[in-house]
Assembly symmetry: C2
Homo-oligomer: 349 residues x 2
């Protein structure tokens, strides 16, 4: 297989351009090295060892994951300093404890007092402490205790005062950048989230607490504002692949997108002015597909079927790379169109 051209692959298949992956990873590293902020790359988009190695520059250290399955996978392959950035689920406290007792540094995240109680009920052995990030919702609209709620500060205090637990940092995900169009709007959201996090850090300081701060999202970290230099860490993930959505938001150009789904024409439907592809939502997540069929229509005019005979190979740029990658149990990796290997992601929770 190695050395073969990607056009010889059986379709549907997801292919990754390793040169673009390396370029995206390098660019993000340079950004943040220059600003003096630790880059803690998120593994959720690809969930592979090989891409993790590229994102960490081979250090196998300082990563963030979205599932405990990822945490275990990376730990099993020699990674350390892993942040499980997900409100610690009560049914997984014991698995978290095992990782915390095994790695030099395994960090968890929470946004509720009951979660803190769960950690306290499971003290770590050998004098270890739980390293806990407080998830702050800076009007980003998903997980987190709202920055303006008095409970946010009180919870931070409770964490830092609890025995066997350490407040490691404050973590925000500016997921509301996903509604942005263009650098200016991204900067506005990044500015708002950064300001709210830094204000919260001041409040902590006023009560004698000092800890790290981190914000994420590929849009804000690809278009950083100068204030972000005051943060301890950033945690973007999608940037290593990018996708159409990121290019629409303004995080990247289409030439920065490292992934493609290859698909072949398997049908002509002249009575509907459509082509049928061998790529449905089980290969690519888009609207108006069925399980194993994709439907393509021209933006205008009549399809010229002679240009797309059955078997024609089409190259599709995914709208959302994280979602597309989830549908593939293997990614085919190429350099300049020639296969150089396969990456196998971990799955589950």
């Amino acid at each position: 297989m190695e050395g073969d051209h990607i056009t010889t692959l059986s379709t549907p298949v997801m292919v990754v351009d390793v040169d673009i992956v390396k370029r995206n990873a390098e660019k993000m590293r340079e950004h943040w090295t220059k600003l003096g902020v630790t880059l803690r790359p998120h593994m959720k988009t690809h969930k592979t060892l090989e891409c993790g190695d590229i994102m960490t520059g081979g250090s196998r250290s300082c990563i963030v994951v979205s599932t405990l399955a990822e945490a275990g996978f990376y730990a099993d392959h020699g990674y350390d300093d892993i942040l499980y950035a997900y409100s610690v689920p009560f049914d997984k406290v014991e698995r978290c404890a095992v990782l915390a007792e095994r790695l030099s540094l395994f960090q968890v995240l929470l946004d509720h007092r009951d979660a803190l109680e769960q950690l306290r009920k499971r003290p770590l052995t050998d004098g270890r402490v739980w390293h806990v990030w407080l998830k702050l919702d800076c009007d980003n609209g998903r997980a987190g205790v709202l920055h303006s709620e008095p409970e946010a500060l009180r919870l931070a205090q409770a964490i830092s005062e609890s025995e066997g637990v350490e407040l490691t940092g404050v973590y925000a995900h500016c997921g509301n950048t996903y509604g942005c169009r263009g650098a200016e709007q991204i900067h506005a959201v990044a500015h708002e989230t950064t300001t709210l996090v830094l204000q919260f850090m001041e409040k902590l300081k006023a009560v004698g607490i000092s800890c790290k701060s981190s914000i994420g999202s590929t849009p804000s970290c690809s278009q950083p504002i100068s204030d972000m230099a005051k943060l301890s860490e950033v945690h973007p993930g999608n940037y290593v692949f990018f996708d159409v959505q990121q290019s629409v938001i303004g995080s990247c150009g289409l030439e920065d997108v490292a992934v493609r789904v290859l698909s072949r024409v398997i049908g002509h439907s002249p009575h509907r002015n459509q082509l049928l592809l061998d790529c449905g939502w089980s290969a690519l997540r888009l609207l108006s597909m069925t399980q194993e069929h994709g439907r393509v229509e021209p933006l205008s005019g009549q399809l010229d079927y002679s240009r797309y005979p059955l078997g024609t190979l089409l190259t599709i740029i995914p709208y959302h790379a994280c979602a597309t990658a989830m549908m593939h149990s293997v990614y085919y990796v190429h350099s300049g169109g020639r296969l150089v290997g396969k990456w196998t992601p971990t799955r589950g929770w």
Copy 2:
């Protein structure tokens, strides 16, 4: 694990009630035995050996699949008489040929002259012939040559006249039943598709061709009309699990749905009147989810968070079972809430 209650499982997780699965399978078998029509169950929803065994009543024969990966998986486990009901992709002709030369009966499907040409270019060994179904679009809107096009009849003739190729049957998928609400609308679509297929069979007869006929879709096969008794086969698949969509269409009641996603509350967002679940689109495919988070809002009024403390187990009935199953690499199987085993689906194409 066996004997444990499903509430002990780590979430998110997909669970299957084996008693409902058996009841759904049995009911469908009875329907069609009574009508004297062969039931060729579709494996695409679950893609497991165990559920295939239940659907075929243990015969391991006479099934339909949506991917060649499924065909290979079932063939490797002793299944035979497999119909790969997918416009034969040109990059997979050789893999199809290998299966056709290995099984007693492996059948393919096509809707274009170029696909026939591909089969002719790869004659089977040992005097075997390609068993080919013609995919007919009876205004169902996906694959298939349109029933009213003269090309439909000409293509059927070309198949039956080609050396090394046999016209096994005419295949239609009344996917347009998915827009129905209630038995009456389902009957109307089933009637229309059945009538168009039977009219086409008459046209074939008039030019001296006789072959089988088959229509599918869980809605039409769960609410059959008497004319369907004139068909040779039916090929529904989803019915073994059913889901919310099928209950909305009118194929089943909610009590017939065999699958659930179990999820736990991992966050409270009182500032948005929402609960946060550990189940995102990587576990369940629904709108307004992110990768690992689901958001739940009350239909009206304020959420009473004391009723849903963090860690609360919720049971979610999937909207689309085929799509939900695709996101899980293992299904936990129970009887009356007690675990009896795990089913592992095949994946890929």
